[in-house]
Symmetry: C2
Subunit: 514 residues, 2 copies
């Protein structure tokens, strides 16, 4: 442990801070939190009952208005909705705390929208927007308990289950409660704080650039700290200096124009699910290596500094294999962190006709695969999509971005409709950047264990926008438990992670002045 930590410390040229020493500000905020757990959770529950799909325009505004009230109640100044040129898009919610004499301004970012939900997939008796308290993770035998009705000290292993409980309303709450804790403890932040809560991150942030450009003067800062994603799988806090880019695509292949009886036509009418299987199978080999031409060629390798940081990170592959039930990972022997610096191609979903109790003996009319491509430094999302499209064409497909016409169907034996969502590129802040160093140092003062410094997360955030539009840089400080089911059914936050997250951001707000 010491050895690993010293490596990180060495790398980042920190020396004075002992990792076993919590800062006084963090200690005060912990006392504040322990005295107010009931009201903190009560407000969080209320927040989680608001459905928050970015495209659900009425509900997403209800979330924004809820946030405005939260911020005003905390004495945050200049609270407002930030919109770009498209008034129908979910607004960002902004507020600020200007500290006399502070020489540094950081923008603290989280997002209040969530991933789509399919309520039928959530464990029986639960609903994505009706938060449930459980004694532990579902797969560890967690059972439902009532939320307490009065002041209490929660078992920190308890979890709250709801959409966005961790991704990313936990981030919003941790930032706001960190400020509450400092304020109620009469501790003045050492930096100017700007709060920025986005409302369409899970939808690919199509309007974030527009919002940043429209409000670039208001958003002047020395850097952004992004609160999103999970802490390291070892349970340690982490600071992340980069993210992968992401772009989603959907491939539809076609069978007969109407569903046909599989008996009357089976063997003669081509089956679209069979075609899709063949198309997808040809995209990866048995090790999960993508077989599409030039798929890996644009990727920029890690620098020496980044490789050193990677080596200092504890290996958790064996733990994860047990936890996920995986006998053999993909990647032909490369470790997880190496693989996260390669672009990926993932099937997110498949659909053709029905299975289970709804199955019927048909030849389906179409089969659909949803894919997402993760991108690393050097990849351009449109170029990456182009490689996949060319591959589909190479497999003999006539590629369209709309439904085929009758005459196209009769001319082309293989037709694929490819729809591409808006995507974005990867971003990485050098480990030696002053923002990275200050944040690492600050976060370390909120942890009794050495924190983990990661050159790039596997997940994605549209961080390239901050560089390209605001000419500023970012570091990411995640707080959620890694087993949080984010993006899926039964999403949850472990209370200890929420508590730790509050302390993490209190440490950032009270970081050592430069």
């Amino acid at each position: 442990m010491n050895y690993i930590f010293l490596l990180i410390v060495g790398l980042l040229t920190m020396s004075a801070t002992s990792y076993a020493q919590l800062s006084p500000a963090v200690q005060k905020v912990r006392e504040y939190r322990m005295a107010h757990e009931h009201t903190i959770i009560q407000e969080f529950r209320e927040f989680l009952t608001l459905p928050n799909l970015a495209t659900d325009s009425i509900n997403i505004l209800r979330n924004a208005q809820f946030l405005i009230r939260m911020m005003q109640q905390r004495g945050i100044a200049n609270v407002q909705l930030l919109r770009g040129t498209k008034s129908s898009a979910p607004p960002a919610v902004y507020g600020e705390v200007i500290v006399p004499g502070a020489t540094r301004t950081l923008v603290l970012y989280a997002h209040y929208d969530g991933q789509p939900v399919n309520p039928s997939e959530w464990v029986e008796g639960s609903k994505p927007f009706a938060p449930i308290l459980r004694t532990a993770a579902l797969d560890k035998g967690g059972t439902t308990v009532e939320f307490p009705t009065g002041p209490t000290h929660f078992n920190p292993e308890y979890r709250i289950y709801a959409r966005s409980a961790s991704d990313d309303k936990a981030g919003v709450l941790a930032i706001l409660e960190a400020y509450s804790g400092l304020r109620k403890s009469n501790i003045t932040p050492t930096i100017n704080i700007k709060f920025f809560f986005e409302g369409e991150e899970e939808y690919g942030s199509p309007n974030l650039g527009d919002i940043l450009a429209t409000h670039s003067a208001l958003l002047q800062s020395d850097g952004w700290v992004i609160c999103d994603g999970p802490v390291h799988q070892s349970g340690r806090k982490q600071v992340v200096c980069g993210v992968r880019g992401d772009v989603g695509m959907e491939i539809t292949v076609y069978g007969p124009k109407r569903p046909l009886h599989s008996g009357h036509y089976g063997n003669w009418v081509p089956n679209p699910a069979q075609k899709l299987a063949t198309l997808l199978a040809g995209m990866k080999d048995a090790h999960g290596t993508v077989l599409i031409d030039d798929f890996y060629t644009d990727a920029t390798p890690f620098t020496q500094e980044e490789r050193d940081a990677i080596r200092a990170i504890p290996h958790i592959e064996e733990q994860l294999q047990r936890e996920f039930g995986i006998a053999k990972p993909d990647g032909a022997g490369k470790n997880l962190l190496e693989l996260l610096n390669l672009p990926s191609l993932n099937i997110n979903g498949l659909r053709s006709a029905n299975v289970g109790t709804m199955v019927a003996n048909v030849i389906p009319t179409q089969a659909i695969a949803a894919l997402d491509l993760r991108l690393v430094l050097g990849n351009d999302w449109q170029r990456q999509i182009g490689k996949v499209k060319r591959h589909i064409e190479k497999m003999g497909y006539y590629v369209l971005d709309r439904e085929p016409t009758d005459s196209e169907r009769i001319q082309h034996s293989h037709i694929a409709k490819v729809r591409v969502a808006s995507g974005y590129n990867a971003q990485r802040t050098p480990l030696r950047h002053p923002l990275a160093q200050s944040v690492v140092k600050a976060v370390q003062t909120s942890s009794e264990e050495p924190i983990v410094v990661v050159p790039t997360l596997g997940g994605s955030l549209p961080l390239y926008l901050f560089e390209s539009i605001l000419k500023t840089t970012t570091v990411t400080v995640p707080i959620a438990n890694h087993d949080n089911n984010q993006h899926a059914e039964n999403e949850n936050i472990r209370l200890q992670n929420l508590w730790n997250g509050i302390e993490t951001f209190a440490a950032i707000m009270s970081m050592q002045p430069r």
Copy 2:
């Protein structure tokens, strides 16, 4: 046309009947129907509003009770529910008309249960159990019209849309209305008629054998005439002497135990949808030929007589390709009828996580494929399933019939759960069998065009049971339009097909005494 017909006539050694001559009984029943279209359709609509999934035990009984009333109102004798030893299974509905002096007894079969429905797949504004009248097929621009409120003569190109409108409540109605027509026209049937309406055909007839065995004395006959499936795609009436067998299976392959963020783990955690695609892709080549070892080896080829009959059937492949929008059929150049005498493997449905508006950036926990295997003479359904299972094992899978345990997950990189539904074998009655010859001759008296005689249908019915349990034989006389969307959303019956079906069964009930 004449040439083809003469071939069929020659083959079946019929000589006296001219195909252009409708029998007097058929003419009378046509007059009856034309005078009663409104009430016929009114009763049919009421029948179609009853949900009829075999496993929906309350509703399936409501259908049976409705049938009992229909039969009693028509003066059919000895009407009763037939049950086997399992009282919870859907009963068959039985009735009889014993004709003094008749030397032949035929059982007329149809089924009153239907395929599962996914209402969300039906065209907007329609529900599977709320029949809708349309002016033509949906894909031919058919528009919804109100059902008339009083006596009327329907445009025979109109269609009724509802689950089981063709498969197979149309069969039930055609048989009962054929009898009504004869009775109201004071024409005595030439045969003893036993009516047998099954209630779980679409569920694989798990209790049919039991019901037949339990009531074998009551069901004594000279053969069964099965009313199910569509007429020939050319629009001509057809008599079918065999059916394929069928068995359904579901394959589930596994990814991580919980859904994982595709960013944090993409490239490292194996994707179950990718695995399933690879597994399915390996089952068929580019022509749709099944690559599973010995898949085709048990199939009994057509006899010379059957090959001759096949040659007499009009080719409709080009018409179907246009209709279905298919540039290139499967089968490596073999025609549709040849291919229907080969076993098939079809993907009926695929499912893994979500696509479309519900898509999330996850690595799914599992991926499911529903398959059905059609079987021909010579195939045993359990042996055929065994070949597929061995193939999956050969592809490196550990095959289970239940969910894997945690320790199995960590031991085996490829795990497949294979669930097999109850299946049954193919059946074929020789074309020269007296029952086949009598029915062909009778049906021809109800058609102004030469009818089509088919050695085997591509579809399936559990007809082997009649041979094995009752030591009797069957021929199938379908009546539905071939473009009826049976087994799928927007199922429909074209009214002219319903009218023709009534006449077909009137002709069978008044067939020439032997």
